[in-house]
Amino acid sequence: MYGLFLAIIAAAAATVLAGIGSAKGVGGAAQTAMGVLSEDSSMFGKMLVLTLLPGTQGLYGFIVAFLILINCGVLGGDLPTTGQGLAFLGASLAIGFGGLFSGIAQGKASVSGIAMSAKDEANFSKAMVSITLVEIYALLAFIVSLLVVINIPALKI
């Protein structure tokens, strides 16, 4: 009973927290990109790429949530024990907070990258690579959540 409840909270936390990070990141980047586009609409493709970069955190959160739902019996299968539910909740916090803060930080980097590319299009690839430097922390959080979540059903707790 409690196990399922905790697992659902875990899925929600992973999606929502990481989603907030991405939403803030992409939102800020999109605002700046539109400013650039109002001057020169031919930059749309490049701006789209830079704007979307902070969007992956939300995706990672969603995938962890999906894996939790698959493994916790909501979509068929055994229901988790309370211990397993707590474990799901713990696992979800990694991508939840990792995604939240790295999404916001990456959004800020994106804004600067957009400004840089707007000045000189040749800077685009440098901006892109610099922005992805932030992403590694979301990825690490994602991998921690992932490795725990897929192993929880086998845990006897």
């Binding site: 970069l53 992956t56 995938i63 690839s125 892109m128 994602f142 992932l146």
Partner: protein, 658 residues
């Protein structure tokens, strides 16, 4: 790269330059000033003329595109430039005067339309100002009669007849007056006030206290007539604007010709820029530049065919530009290398290595046979149908090759549009089968075997990094910096290999642990002994050596970075799976099937868009940050040949090179 000097007769100048421009074999260089004994031709007047004409045609084209847009699909941007015969340029040149005339007309019509629009704004303002006077049947500047003063004007608030008469009477009790209100709104009342002429001053003073103002620039016509005249004028202008627009649209048939002429002017101005940098005497001119080594013979043959000339080649100096040359497999990835930086003279060309890993890692992250197949099909079709120009062609080939790798990894991970085959199979038969059971070959399940794939990713990262370090080793060795090659690069390579063997030993067997640990410890000792060699004193050297071991953290973080191969691969698979699951929600009735198709198409389109972008960005990052940082310097100057930078036509190069 060779530097080249071509000495030819001046009478052949035009012919030779045109052939050089069409063949795009040589980059022309020019000193600031002419060498002694030579003069330069001042072409700035012609140059300016061509540039002005190019600008004019460009402007005309833009106007034409705005007023008479051409039907164009998004895919047309893939289409290559139109190929034309070199002889056709002569025709374009002959036509250019006529086309410039048309462009001038278009621009003039556009100016007229702009003036017209401004005039209409003025008319509208005038009409709006006359609005309160529409019912007035005398001119606004009607003079006083012999005995009656006529005051026409507005109050800044709304009055009814009664309110106004009270207000005026209060302002001046003994004033004799009569008035008519013509218009009244909440904040404006227009009225005509009559009073005996001898009380005019008094009346004006009274009205002033109520905020009464007389109109500025009153007309001598009855307002209604004036409005009618203005409306007519407005309509005329509108008609004129339509006429101008129709006339511009009528020139749409010249669009192609205008484009060609634009290119022609750009081409000519480029040629004149080159001419202005040539050293010349009365009969001879000298052209200097760079030419790729493979093209030397071709260039010589071309020059000797079209002109009497001497062509001399020399080894190029350090400032020579760089042109990358690769086979069909690696060539598409050249743009990825140059996007980072063009290789310098000291670098080796990293394109072949980069190309392989670019495709490989992209495939592993995008990892879906269905998506890969779509990429290959779409890119191949675009290449066949649109015959794109070189840059676009290379990009399409880049993604086609990535698509092949994607198919490979998709099959390895058992992902074909996610788990679509299994989902459809289950839907039809009512079974409960997974992709692993459905496919005849063993697969790596990204979810169940995540740990295995992560280890694989990091192992591949190790290989990638070691190859990067191997390049560094080779570059140092080639430059005879043996200490750097052996100690700074070689020892780290053996240390990493030792640690990898050690890690493999932990899983596989005791013997490997000893071998790995042995190699790692020996390498680490070597590093301690050698890394402080530039420091002074025994302790300086020792501390420098020990501190260098701290660099291990950067190698570890580089290696961990490759875990993104797993993360992005998994993302693609799971997103596809989610959409497959959603699509079957409504079952197998008619509505369910329609719903399924819609969700399937839209869902997979979203997955492709997001994950292709992610894979592209992250594979690029792995090349730039993890591998290039190990050895690549960049900073070279790209080779920019003297060629036709046209937008709409290209001359048939094969024709010129035969």
């Amino acid at each position: 790269m060779k530097s080249v000097r071509i000495i030819a007769l001046r009478k052949d100048r035009k012919r030779l330059l045109e052939h050089l421009q069409n063949s795009a074999l040589v980059e022309v260089t020019s000193e600031e000033t002419a060498q002694e004994g030579f003069v330069r031709t001042d072409t700035s007047a012609q140059l300016k003329q061509f540039e002005r004409n190019a600008e004019l045609t460009e402007q005309a084209l833009r106007i034409l595109d705005r007023e008479a847009p051409e039907k164009k699909s998004l895919l047309d941007s893939l289409r290559g430039r139109r190929e034309i015969d070199p002889d056709e340029i002569g025709e374009i040149a002959a036509n250019s005067a006529k086309i410039t005339g048309i462009c001038k007309k278009i621009v003039k019509l556009d100016h007229q339309m702009a003036d017209n629009a401004a005039e209409r704004v003025r008319i509208r303002t005038q009409i709006a100002q006359l609005e309160p006077w529409k019912k007035l049947d005398i001119p606004l500047n009607t003079p006083d009669t012999a005995s009656v003063a006529v005051l026409i004007g507005t109050f800044p608030r709304g009055y009814s007849t009664q309110e106004l008469s009270v207000a005026v009477a209060e302002a001046s009790p003994d004033l004799i007056f009569e008035f008519e209100i013509f218009y009244s709104s909440s904040n404006l009342t227009s009225a005509v006030i009559y009073s005996p002429k001898k009380q005019k001053e008094q009346c004006q003073a009274a009205l002033r206290t109520l905020g009464f103002t007389q109109p500025m620039n009153p007309t001598s016509k009855v307002p209604e007539d004036k409005v009618r005249r203005l409306l007519k004028k407005d309509k005329d202008l509108e008609e004129k604007r339509e006429d101008a627009r129709d006339e511009i649209a009528g020139y749409a048939e010249f669009r192609g010709a205008i484009r060609d002429t634009w290119d022609y002017f750009v081409m000519r101005s480029e040629k004149y820029k080159v001419i202005s940098g040539l050293d010349q005497t009365k009969h001879v001119f000298v052209l200097t530049g760079f030419v790729p080594e493979v093209d030397c013979e071709k260039l010589q043959a071309l020059c000797e065919r079209v002109a009497d000339c001497v062509v001399e080649f020399e080894d190029a100096g350090d400032d020579a530009p760089v042109k990358l040359r690769n086979n069909a497999f690696a060539e598409p990835a050249e743009s990825i290398v140059t996007m980072y930086s063009t290789p310098s003279k000291n670098d080796i060309d990293p394109t072949p290595i980069l190309a392989f890993f670019f495709y490989f890692f992209f495939g592993m992250m995008f990892s879906d046979a269905g998506y890969g197949l779509l990429m290959v099909a779409a890119c191949s079709a675009a290449i066949a149908i649109f015959k794109p120009d070189r840059n676009m062609l290379l990009n399409l080939r880049l993604f086609r090759n990535c698509g092949v790798a994607t198919i490979f990894w998709g099959l390895a991970f058992g992902s074909i549009f996610g788990d679509a085959p299994a989902v459809i199979y289950n839907l039809i038969t009512g079974g409960n089968i997974t992709m692993a059971e459905l496919l005849p070959w063993p697969i790596l399940d990204t979810q169940k075997d995540a740990l295995t794939i992560m280890v694989m990713s990091i192992a591949m990262g190790l290989v990638h990094i070691l190859i990067g370090m191997g390049c560094k080793f080779y570059i140092c060795w080639r430059q005879k910096r043996y200490a750097e090659a052996l100690f700074d690069t070689g020892l780290w390579m053996t240390l990493l290999v030792g640690l990898a063997v050690l890690a493999a030993g932990v899983a596989a067997g005791q013997l490997l642990v000893y071998i790995g640990a042995g190699i790692a410890i020996a390498s680490a000792l070597g590093l301690v002994l050698t890394q402080g060699r530039s420091k002074k004193g025994f302790f300086g050297k020792l501390i420098g050596g020990v501190a260098s071991l701290y660099d291990i953290t950067s190698y570890v973080s580089d290696l961990l970075s490759y875990s993104r191969l797993l993360a992005l691969g998994l993302t693609t698979g799971v997103m596809a799976q989610v959409f497959n699951m959603l699509s079957t929600l409504l079952g197998t009735n008619v509505i369910g099937i329609i719903f399924m198709i819609v969700i399937f198409v839209v869902g997979h389109a979203v997955t492709i868009g997001l994950n292709a972008l992610g894979s592209y960005v992250h594979t690029m990052r792995l090349q730039y940050v993890e591998m290039f940082s190990k050895f690549y310097e960049g900073g070279g100057k790209p080779f920019v040949p003297f060629e036709t930078n046209s937008r709409f036509f290209k001359t048939d190069i094969k024709e010129n090179n035969k």
